[in-house]
Symmetry: none
Subunit: 130 residues, 2 copies
């Protein structure tokens, strides 16, 4: 089952889980110790995170270690970065970005101009898509 990454990080508990696991891997119980809700509930959250690729499970004996796959956050980063010009001091990049918003092929053209952020992200997204 493929889950939506945006939905996955919508829940604060899951964001916290990611924060914990990002540093190093923990088994399920160790993760659950950080919360007041039941282990089963945490387990469900972890399952959701695995279903969108943000976490993978490595079995070791009877324990299962959660390993972060933060690269999956790229999708979110890409989307948010689209609008980064709205809170950063408006720089040159905005033009490049707006240009790349109109039409898909903008990325190719813009790539040579390589005006930075938005362009590279567009390119990246294409590679990223499976």
């Amino acid at each position: 089952m493929r889950r939506d990454t945006f939905k996955a990080i919508a829940d604060p508990t899951r964001r916290k889980i990611l924060g914990i696991v990002a540093r190093r891997s923990f088994n399920i119980n160790a993760v659950a110790d950080n919360f007041t809700i039941s282990r089963t509930a945490v387990c469900k959250h972890i399952k959701i995170l695995t279903e969108c690729g943000l976490i993978t499970i490595r079995q070791q004996g009877r324990e299962r270690y959660c390993e972060a796959r933060m690269k999956e956050l790229c999708e979110v980063w890409d989307w948010v970065s689209q609008y980064s010009s709205f809170w950063n001091n408006r720089l040159d990049r905005q033009d490049g970005y707006l240009a790349s918003m109109h039409g898909e092929k903008a990325s190719k053209t813009a790539k040579k101009k390589t005006s930075g952020h938005a362009v590279a992200v567009t390119t990246a997204r294409k590679k990223f898509r499976k």
Copy 2:
């Protein structure tokens, strides 16, 4: 009522609404025309977006115009950027992958290894930060 921005952008319809309104403001009906769901449903989404500050309403006669406040996405960007190092220069706990994440050959190797994204974004962010 203060809403969670992460929850707000979790819904694809709301992300689309933001995308529409980001370019220029539209009244409710104009926004709703982009969807197959009822105007009331769109209206609810817009309300949620206003409740977390992502949209503000400007009344003009009997029409209400939606204006984007993308700056509110900063919170999300900050959170995601926390982990940008995972797809930039550091490891993503992918054994065998992290070895290929260093230096010049990283780009070639990574591209072959289905990743590609990380490297491109690295470039993007470096330029972006400067």
